[in-house]
Subunit: 150 residues, 2 copies
């Protein structure tokens, strides 16, 4: 079981956007984490479609957060960014091949556990990820040392 | 996020073993679920190493459950069968490349959610999966219709 790279990068890009608290460049976000520019571009495109980011083209353009960090519930976000919609085969009745699907408790037990996972994440917002005693160190690492704008 | 096929099959094979309540053949378990014999063989080998199953070679041999169904906590089992030990990159400090690992709350938030997932599964045992109002239907589907022994 592994969080998708897409969710991982989505969380990281939103943290960057929230710390930046203003326009930023795709290249700077990718450089800050030392990850692929193409992956970050895909993530930004998707997060903009979901309404978390706003992109502004042309000279003086860039990307910015489109919501307040305190409004971004992490469970809701990860549900939206996970690219594996089917946690286990029997979650999709169309493609399921297990013959006991109608008489088996496993599906509901796993669905309950997955709900607990997301409910736990929903107790936190993006704001929780960028505040606290380590905020200044986080900001220094992400916004200062790697960014080409500073 | 997806449960590994290995965990999925492990849960299913143990359900089969618990319903059978005695020796069974690898081929019958694979046929009951309509899944690959090779995958089931790997799962049985691993579950035997973990102490959940006992295999008996030779004539009259087969596989049987080595523990009581009520003793198999599903969270503990799935922790042991998941083949992706690293839920997200920063969970492994050796391979991690994210520069903010020391100042970031994301890792602990995700670890907490993952713990909730396993804690939820730990509220159930293998026994819970094979008892209840649908037990007879589950047993009929798995042990009678597809098995070559009946």
């Amino acid at each position: 079981m592994k969080l998708s790279l897409f969710s991982d990068y989505s969380l990281r890009v939103l943290m960057y956007a929230a710390l930046k608290d203003g326009l930023f460049q795709l290249d700077d976000a990718a450089a800050a984490y030392g990850v692929s520019r193409n992956h970050v571009a895909q993530v930004i495109h998707h997060l903009a479609k979901l309404g978390y980011l706003r992109t502004q083209r042309g000279r003086g353009g860039g990307v910015r957060l489109a919501v307040l960090p305190a409004e971004v519930r992490l469970g809701k976000l990860v549900r939206e960014t996970e690219d594996q919609p089917v946690f286990v085969e029997c979650f999709n009745p169309v493609t399921n091949t297990c013959p006991v699907i109608g008489a088996c408790r496993l599906k509901s037990v796993l669905a309950g556990a997955l709900n607990e996972f997301y409910a736990s994440l929903d107790r936190y917002t993006l704001r929780d990820l960028i505040t606290g005693p380590q905020q200044s160190r986080l900001g220094r690492t992400l916004l200062v040392s790697k960014s080409q704008n500073f």
